[in-house]
């Protein structure tokens, strides 16, 4: 189940193809997205964007007015041909916002519910899932004696044990408090790496997206605005839902090149560039994705002499995006896209234009954020 670094991000086959339109009262959806056959696809959008309706349509809990939904060669829904496979025949594991455990069964019976109906999961698989989610001590408990985080872990296990071709998680952490989230998130990260079941992860939290997702689909007002590898979508300057926030930024895919223990620093390599970041626990050679916030990047026409900024990345301006608030977002191609959010006055002073060669100055402290390090492939942990 080990993946080569970033391989899943570079080459992928579509596993599920979703294109449908649907009206619900005054709200109408017109959705088109492709989900790859491995890894986690984040479905991101503000509440009310229609994310849960997409999940319900894929799982077969609602019947869209028109369109087509297919997993590989298997058509689940096709309004033109009158195909609508019943939810129980779709092999879609669905983890709901609320755990929805069966209250009249204990944890073990809940976990077996799907497997019993879809050709029982092997004892090995059961043990593996139970171990992965830390459910061993809960097996004989009644569901009403579980905490929110425990219940959600059971719900995830129950969905996995039904042998799904695709796992959908609809904001599985949103009903939990911060402490419970921190309890469940590491399990989700391991899940993404260890199970190999392609997953659609619905959330309105950019932090969860960055920790879990390889691919990203962005939704607003009932349509999918962008869909693709996370670093490509995050680098797009034209998505207000991603860019109209203080923590707007882009994703860099790097490899750990070495550690400097005395300075509490690690070196990360991407392309021909090296970044110095606070010491990471990850081994040399392991892949590491990190987020660089646009507000932590400044620009210079010449490499600064005698500066406290350790990371100076040469690059070319590929886009200049004025914002309403007196700031300008500048996209710089330095092998991968980095974004800088600077004032309009600075942009004028530097006479920025597309094609200009300059230097992006990244403060090391920008990496120190708790969510900046993401396990995005099989590794330790």
């Amino acid at each position: 189940m080990a993946r080569a670094p970033h391989a899943a991000l570079l080459e992928w086959r579509t596993v599920i193809d979703v294109a449908f339109s649907h009206r619900q009262g005054s709200f109408s959806l017109d959705v088109s997205m492709q989900v790859p056959d491995s890894g986690v696809t984040g479905l991101f959008g503000t509440s009310g964007a229609g994310k849960s309706t997409v999940a319900d349509a894929i799982a077969g809990l609602i019947r869209p007015d028109a369109g087509r939904i297919a997993i590989g060669e298997t058509v689940l829904f096709d309004s033109a041909r009158g195909v609508a496979v019943a939810p129980e025949r779709r092999r879609i594991g669905y983890v709901f916002q609320e755990a929805r455990l069966f209250p009249h069964m204990n944890v073990r019976a809940n976990l077996h519910f799907g497997g019993r109906r879809r050709g029982a999961a092997s004892p090995d698989t059961f043990e593996q899932v139970v171990g992965l989610l830390g459910l061993e001590p809960l097996l004989d408990r009644r569901t009403r004696h579980l905490s929110g985080g425990e219940a959600q872990r059971v719900a995830i296990g129950r969905a996995l044990l039904s042998g799904p071709d695709l796992l959908i998680m609809d904001e599985p952490l949103s009903s939990l408090d911060q402490q419970r989230r921190d309890d469940v998130l590491p399990h989700l990260e391991r899940l993404a790496a260890d199970t190999g079941v392609p997953t659609v992860y619905i959330t309105h939290s950019i932090e969860e997206i960055i920790r879990l997702a390889d691919h990203l689909a962005v939704m607003a007002n009932g349509t999918v605005l962008a869909c693709g590898p996370i670093q490509d979508v995050m680098a797009r300057p034209d998505l207000p839902v991603l860019n109209d926030r203080r923590d707007a930024g882009t994703i860099l895919l790097t490899t750990v090149a070495g550690h400097f223990d005395d300075d509490h620093l690690s070196a990360l390599r991407f392309g021909e560039h090296t970044l110095l970041v606070p010491r990471t626990e990850r081994a040399e050679g392991s892949p590491l994705a990190l987020r660089i916030l646009a507000r932590d990047v400044s620009l210079a026409l010449e490499p600064p002499q005698r500066s406290s900024v350790m990371n100076v990345l040469p690059g070319t301006v590929t886009g200049i995006h004025p914002r309403g608030d007196g700031h300008v977002d500048v996209s710089i191609d330095s092998g991968q896209i980095i974004r800088a959010r600077i004032t309009r006055r600075s942009a004028d002073d530097l006479s920025l234009k597309v094609g200009l060669e300059l230097y992006a100055l990244v403060k090391s402290v920008a990496f120190a954020e708790r969510d900046a390090f993401r396990r995005h492939a099989d590794g330790e942990g």
């Binding site: 129980e88 929805r100 069966f102 009249h104 109906r117 879809r118 129950r158």
Partner: protein, 230 residues
């Protein structure tokens, strides 16, 4: 100790009530589900018709049964000619009268409990591979068990006390249709029957107490089970 005639009335009452409850249970669950979970033309009309026994005097129900299912009634003649079944003046007829009079009570209890079940649990069951029927049997039914049980108790109690519809439809034939309330009524009509009537009152109250205590105990067990027993 009860006399043979009293024992006969007691056993007959129990037999009529048990069959009335068991016979109406499957249609009550099916119709309760239809009313709770679907909308169709005639939904309100069906609901209204099924509640008629609750609001009209039982004698009216008994009379209607006599007209339609009695020996001379169209339904009664059909049953007799095709299946050789006679309902008029038989204990089976008494059970049907009881079932119809008690039906709305059972229906309401079951419908309310179905409406109380979170449909999202049924959806979750569907995504885990359960067909609608399977989801109903393994998720909904266990969760509504306390409501079903309450409906059965109500309808059983109503059957034991049934008088008007029974006496009108199947008369009061000792050993065939004379249940406890009918026997008590008969005793009260005879001069010097006060002692007999008193004995029947004691038997009726004792039976009711036993049924009540038993149902309480069973209800506790059912609730325990449907909320995830040990």
């Amino acid at each position: 100790m009860p006399t043979p005639a009293e024992t006969e009335a007691l056993l007959l009452s129990l037999r009529v009530a048990v069959w009335s409850v068991l016979g109406s249970l499957p249609p009550a669950i099916a119709i309760a589900w239809l009313l709770a979970r679907t909308r169709f033309p005639g939904h309100a009309l069906l609901n209204g018709i099924l509640h008629i026994p609750l609001v009209v005097p039982p004698v009216v129900i008994g009379y209607l049964l006599l007209v339609f299912l009695g020996r001379r009634g169209p339904g009664g003649m059909f049953l007799e000619n095709v299946f050789g079944i006679t309902l008029g003046f038989t204990w089976q007829g008494a059970a049907i009268a009881s079932a119809i009079v008690a039906f709305p009570l059972m229906l309401r209890a079951i419908r309310q409990s179905i409406e109380g079940v979170d449909r999202r649990l049924e959806q979750a069951a569907r995504t885990l591979g359960a067909s609608p029927a399977n989801a109903f049997c393994t998720v909904t039914l266990p969760l509504i068990a306390p409501g079903v049980f309450a409906g059965m108790v109500l309808s059983f109690a109503r059957s034991l006390g049934e008088f008007g519809a029974t006496i009108t439809f199947v008369s009061s034939i000792p050993g065939e249709t004379r249940t406890l309330p009918l026997a008590l009524y008969a005793a009260a009509q005879v001069p010097g029957g006060e002692a007999q009537a008193t004995r029947l009152v004691v038997i009726s109250i004792t039976l009711a107490m036993i049924a009540l205590i038993g149902s309480e105990w069973l209800a506790r067990r059912t609730r325990h089970y449907s909320s995830g027993g040990p």
